[in-house]
């Protein structure tokens, strides 16, 4: 076998191997590729599709926790209650927002996750949930002014460009709005929330290549 044919053979196997890896992987494209790609590199999802997907899971879990755990305990007049200071209280479990944030913190610790998420609100009871960037402020305003719509955008933080999706966070269970409306941290301008009101936003942030 000549040197040239050996080299061609190596290149062939290298390309074939790489293709196999790519085809077997669900990859995320930049925002420029808004449609699922049909190229030979295999199924591809956009950042928006990825964000929509993970958000759906987050909200499903959160709704179940708020409705079937927290509200149910309240209805049963159980001694176990959701409490902001659950760690130092007897018979207490985390509030839905705290459970959500703890999940986000675990994802923060996972270097392989490839995204971050957080709660944000224009009326945060916890300062950590305040909008941090101009885009976040714009997004919160957008989802309040455009009921039923999500906000999608991009922003540069540090040296990285990020895809940002913000979804309306609604009052899904009575425990949500009653607790928020009665909370001692609420300011004078705090809205009186009712069922299905947008109380804030769920933010998903994905670094772009």
């Amino acid at each position: 076998m000549s040197f040239q044919s050996m080299t061609i053979q190596r290149v062939f196997f290298a390309v074939a191997g790489l293709s196999a890896v790519v085809v077997g992987t669900l990859s995320i494209t930049g925002c420029g590729s808004s449609e699922a790609s049909s190229s030979s590199s295999g199924p591809t999802i956009t950042p928006q599709q990825f964000a929509d997907g993970v958000h759906a899971v987050m909200m499903a879990d959160r709704t179940v926790y708020a409705t079937h755990v927290v509200t149910n305990l309240k209805k049963q007049e159980s001694v176990v209650t959701a409490d902001e200071y659950w760690e130092d209280s007897d018979d207490a479990i985390p509030l839905p927002a705290q459970m959500f944030r703890m999940g986000a913190e675990l994802v923060d610790e996972n270097k392989e996750a490839g995204f971050t998420y957080a709660l944000r609100s224009s009326w945060p009871l916890n300062e950590q949930h305040q909008a941090k960037t101009d885009l976040e402020k714009e997004a919160l305003q957008y989802i309040v002014e455009n009921p039923g719509e999500n906000f999608y955008g991009e922003e540069v933080l540090g040296d990285t460009n990020y895809f940002v999706a913000v979804y309306p966070d609604r009052a899904v269970a009575e425990a949500c709005w009653t607790c928020h409306n009665d909370h001692p941290n609420r300011g004078d301008d705090y809205p009186e929330f009712e069922k299905d009101d947008v109380m804030g936003g769920v933010l998903v942030r994905i670094p772009l290549p």
Binding site: D88, E109, A118, D159, T160, P184, N185
Partner: protein
């Protein structure tokens, strides 16, 4: 014959000197960590926390035997976490590195890289090292929290370097300082009505196994010293069926030999008068592990010879300079005398103002009353009470032998120890006064830490506002 230029006397001396220097340096590089010659490579004085292991350079400057994922970039960070990660987890770290993975912090990280331990804690820079091994200016909080007064008006006008003072805030450990905790303990009496310390398991059960089995076990060696046998037969080791060979002829790591009293222990090994920590550890795991985490055992933890009192930076008794720190230093070989371990053993070495003032303190008086039976067990306060606190674990308890665990920061001691007998505000006031610490808290604190009152006012305002709103909405 004329000597060549290189062999002239001056150059020869120069070469010999250089070779000698190179030889010493090479020897210091490859010599064991115990070799003083290694000091020539120390770039500066190490901190109070690390000086004991300063010659074990590899502990911080090499990967952990290639068994972890250390890389050149995170090698030092990994070294920090190997020893301190558990503490940070226990402390429910307020500023974990993962918190700053959120990209919104990117600009702040450029000012202060809060994801690297070394941003705030560098070694070998004694000239700029503050308390707790801090090596950045003490205004570090301000960089991210300069707008704190917007949400906390009570903080308006506070000095930019006053955040991390006793009783206010810590960077990592705020278990005794978060606002709800402060409010919850507002208004407590200086001395609590239900003051009592955690009792040892044996004190809780009142179980004196020694009496049950005194006549049932004999030493498993023939030529035992009668006095030692007498001491041993009154000890908890005797009660537990731990016989001579199980400590003196046991291989370190041979857990079964010691744990199972019925198993003849390591009879093939040579008799050893000196019982190693690894042997004690087989039955006293938590005590041994915590001992290795503190300043008494940290040298053993990294494979160095035991800490010697003469090495201490704190004032020590000159007649104790030769003593070494191991289990037997405080626990006599055949007598389980926790009274000795709780006070006398400490004062046998420590010679600073705080230690010397203990015997004249009200805490010591309570201890004497407990020993004489005038007051209940759990009301006397010893050196060990505060510096090696008992930890409740379900129905049991054990003594945390890491003397540093409640001093890093001092508010940890407030929550873990002081508050068992004293109100939170009184406790903060006491530990905030270094002069009071020197005299071993011989009088009531005169300083006033305002954080408890501030937190209470903050919650009061909100509670009042909540009530006003409820009243107005019910009309």
């Amino acid at each position: 014959m004329k000597l060549p230029a290189l062999a002239s006397p001056k150059i020869a001396v120069w070469m010999v000197m250089n070779m000698a220097i190179a030889g010493v340096a090479t020897y210091a590089l490859v010599a064991p960590s115990t070799t003083v010659a290694r000091r020539i490579f120390l770039p500066g004085e190490t901190t109070h926390g690390h000086y004991q292991i300063e010659l074990a350079c590899d502990q911080c400057h090499l990967t952990n035997g290639g068994n972890d994922e250390s890389s050149t970039s995170n090698l030092m960070q990994d070294a920090c976490l190997r020893c301190h990660e558990t503490d940070l987890d226990t402390a429910n770290d307020t500023h974990p590195a993962s918190k700053f993975n959120d990209p919104v912090h990117a600009d702040l990280l450029k000012i202060l890289d809060a994801q690297s331990c070394l941003s705030c804690h560098r070694e070998h820079v004694a000239e700029r090292t503050l308390a707790m091994g801090l090596t950045v200016p003490s205004d570090y909080c301000w960089h991210c929290h300069q707008d704190v007064a917007e949400s906390r008006p009570s903080h308006e006008g506070m000095r930019y370097d006053s955040c991390a003072t006793t009783g206010c805030h810590n960077y990592h450990d705020n278990r005794a300082l978060y606002e709800k905790y402060l409010d919850k303990h507002h208004g407590e009496a200086d001395i609590l009505d239900d003051a009592t310390l955690i009792l040892l398991t044996s004190q809780q059960t009142g179980d004196d196994q020694t009496q049950k089995t005194r006549t049932q076990v004999v030493p498993d060696i023939n030529d035992a010293d009668p006095q030692i046998v007498r001491q041993w037969s009154s000890s908890a080791h005797f009660s537990a069926g731990v016989n001579c060979k199980q400590c003196h002829q046991s291989e370190a790591g041979d857990a079964n030999a010691i744990r199972d009293a019925k198993t003849p222990a390591g009879s093939s090994t040579a008799w050893n008068d000196h019982v190693a920590l690894d042997t004690c550890r087989q039955c006293h795991a938590r005590q041994s592990e915590t001992f290795l985490q503190g300043k008494h055992g940290m040298r053993l933890a990294v494979g160095l010879p035991e800490m010697q009192v003469a090495m201490a930076r704190l004032p020590m008794r000159s007649d104790a300079a030769h003593r070494q720190l191991n289990c037997n230093s405080c626990h006599a070989a055949h007598v389980d005398d926790i009274q000795h371990a709780a006070v006398d053993a400490c004062l046998g070495c420590h010679n600073d103002d705080h230690s010397l003032a203990y015997l004249d303190s009200s805490h010591a008086e309570l201890w004497r009353q407990e020993l004489s039976g005038e007051i209940d067990a759990g009301l006397g306060v010893t050196c060990g009470t505060c510096h090696m606190p008992r930890v409740a674990t379900g129905d049991n308890s054990f003594v945390n032998h890491n003397q540093n665990s409640v001093l890093r920061p001092v508010e940890t001691m407030v929550r873990e120890v002081c508050q068992r007998c004293h109100g939170l505000e009184f406790s903060f006031n006491a530990v905030a006064d270094p002069e009071l610490a020197k005299t071993c808290f011989d009088r009531a604190p005169e300083k006033t830490v305002t954080s408890v009152e501030m937190a209470h006012e903050w919650f009061e305002q909100r509670r009042n506002r909540q009530q006003r709103r409820k009243k107005s909405s019910s009309r």
